[in-house]
């Protein structure tokens, strides 16, 4: 039934506000991660063992960890590193994932089958194994860590892109665009892009969270980054034994991760028509 004119205009304002909150949050986090390390003078690696687990709000604004390092400084540097690395991982996973998905859907045939096989093999290989094996080449380094994570994460982008693109490509407006002489680049950018963008954004939000949590998980089995790198995930691992004495300290990095995921989720939220 035809009420196209009425409903979107009604649901939009509410929608915008959720997005606006997300965007504001994202902006605040970005500012904290980018400007924080620059504004906060404290050295995130500087220890003061006599201030071990200093409480929040005292001499240290957000308290100190068990080594007596300023948590505020560590959170700021950690946010820069973790968010940056999660973003890099996500981009590294998303770009080939989307590209392969588009190519597979566009060309079909043996190219698609080849990509499918590749994706299946990556899925069949335990992702953890890939990351651990790559890490074995350069323990404690960013490179293999993020490459390994990206290697396991791209499949999801690929699958979603391929499936969605394949359905879009069957629609008449694609055929029309081809008849009008538009090339694949234009069609993928202007016809496919806007449709898959929100899906990709949702995936990307989750992928960034996955990356940070994965790094912390790897730290928990002692194959993450090397000390004294401030990284949100490994900060949680480091502080975990002190959960009974300083529970809030442990959760602070988790709160930052939470805010990031929430902000990304809110921004990526799809139009609910």
């Amino acid at each position: 039934m035809s009420v196209e004119t009425a409903s979107p205009s009604i649901s939009r304002p509410r929608h915008l506000s959720a997005r606006a909150i997300g965007a504001a949050l994202l902006l605040a986090l970005a500012a904290f991660a980018i400007l924080g390390p620059w504004l906060i003078e404290a050295d995130p690696a500087r220890q003061n063992l006599s201030a071990s687990l200093a409480p929040i709000g005292g001499e240290y604004l957000l308290g100190a960890d068990h080594y007596g390092r300023s948590l505020l400084a560590r959170l700021a540097h950690g946010a820069r590193l973790s968010f940056g690395m999660a973003f890099l991982t996500m981009i590294t996973a998303a770009l080939p994932g989307i590209l392969f998905g588009l190519v597979a859907a566009w060309r079909g045939g043996w190219i698609e089958r080849m990509f499918e096989l590749l994706a299946n093999i990556v899925l069949a290989l335990p992702g953890l194994m890939l990351v651990l094996l790559l890490l074995a080449f350069a323990p404690g380094n960013f490179g293999p860590l993020y490459l390994g994570l990206a290697l396991t994460l791209w499949v999801e982008f690929y699958r979603v892109t391929r499936a969605t693109t394949a359905t879009i490509l069957k629609q008449p407006h694609i055929e029309a665009a081809k008849l009008l002489g538009f090339g694949p680049g234009y069609i993928l950018r202007n016809h496919v892009g806007p449709v898959i963008a929100p899906l990709i954004a949702t995936l990307a939000a989750f992928a960034m969270a996955t990356a940070i949590v994965a790094i912390s998980t790897l730290s928990a089995i002692s194959v993450g980054l090397q000390p004294p790198t401030p990284e949100l995930g490994s900060m949680i691992v480091e502080l975990l034994p002190y959960y009974a004495e300083a529970p809030v300290h442990v959760l602070l990095p988790a709160v930052l991760i939470f805010l990031l995921v929430l902000a990304l989720q809110l921004v990526a939220q799809r139009e609910t028509r």
């Binding site: 299946n120 069949a124 290989l125 989750f206 949590v213 089995i221 949680i236 799809r270 028509r273």
Partner: protein, 312 residues
Amino acid sequence: MRRFLLARLAQAGVVAVVVGTLCFVLMRVLPGDAAMRIAAGRYGPDAAIAEAAEKVRQELGLDQPWPVQFLEWLGNLLRFDLGHSLVTGAPVIEELKVQLGASLWLAAAALLLSLLIGPAVGIVSGLRPNGWADRLGLAGSVTLRALPPFVLGLILMLVFSIWLGWLPPAGFGSWRELILPSLTLALGLAAVSSRVTREAIATVAKAPYFAFARHKGLPEAVVVRRHGLRNAAIPVVSYLGLQAIYLVEGVVVVETIFAYPGIGHALVHAIVERDIPMVQGTALAMGLIFVAVTAGVDAASAWLDPRLRRAQ
């Protein structure tokens, strides 16, 4: 049906060979002295590792050329012989039986629990998009996504073992020990599957057949049950399949903190200790599980969606 099975068998074969080869190559190009690592894995860090490593080297014939070792592995594989663990000395197949078996139980319990939680939350959220239940669901999902599993596990232990005193914090052997680790995993899974279900339900709820079912006069519960769930289940099932695959290996941290004997834990040890037969055997088993799970998912999807049945 037969074609379906044959195709799956072929896929299993391809996966076995590719995964095996990849592991073989990767494990051998890794830097570091494998004999040293094996010795450290066997005898612990207090031992005289370097002397032990010399014996390990002779014992295992690690200095044989690669192609010989690879052909040997392939030949053994054809006889379903996965070899012996270099560290424990036990047959790989036995280790897999125990560890993979335990992990599968854990994964199955986690999947079951997550099915009880995720889709239920997702349905409630999806039927009223942007309602309070949906917002709460989103907040819960994001919280669970942001908490590393070991933090979640610790919280559950504190609540259920110390505070309430209902469940043992660690161990294995009975269903009581299975609950906390599987709940930890399940909550992580449900965090995502509830959102996937929500999307699916919201899509179905906008579908003309869902409106028509209401217009037919069916009570809301019947509409959701008969026309909502099955249709929404189609995308959810294929997503759960993907989750199940990640699950078997995603258990590593949970296994570690709950002292549960599983494959993730074993795999980490095997890689660190360069226990090549274990790594290969584990990867192979997981590859085959992947094939089995995708086959299961395809079968389930076909059962749910008659349109796919015809396409097959």
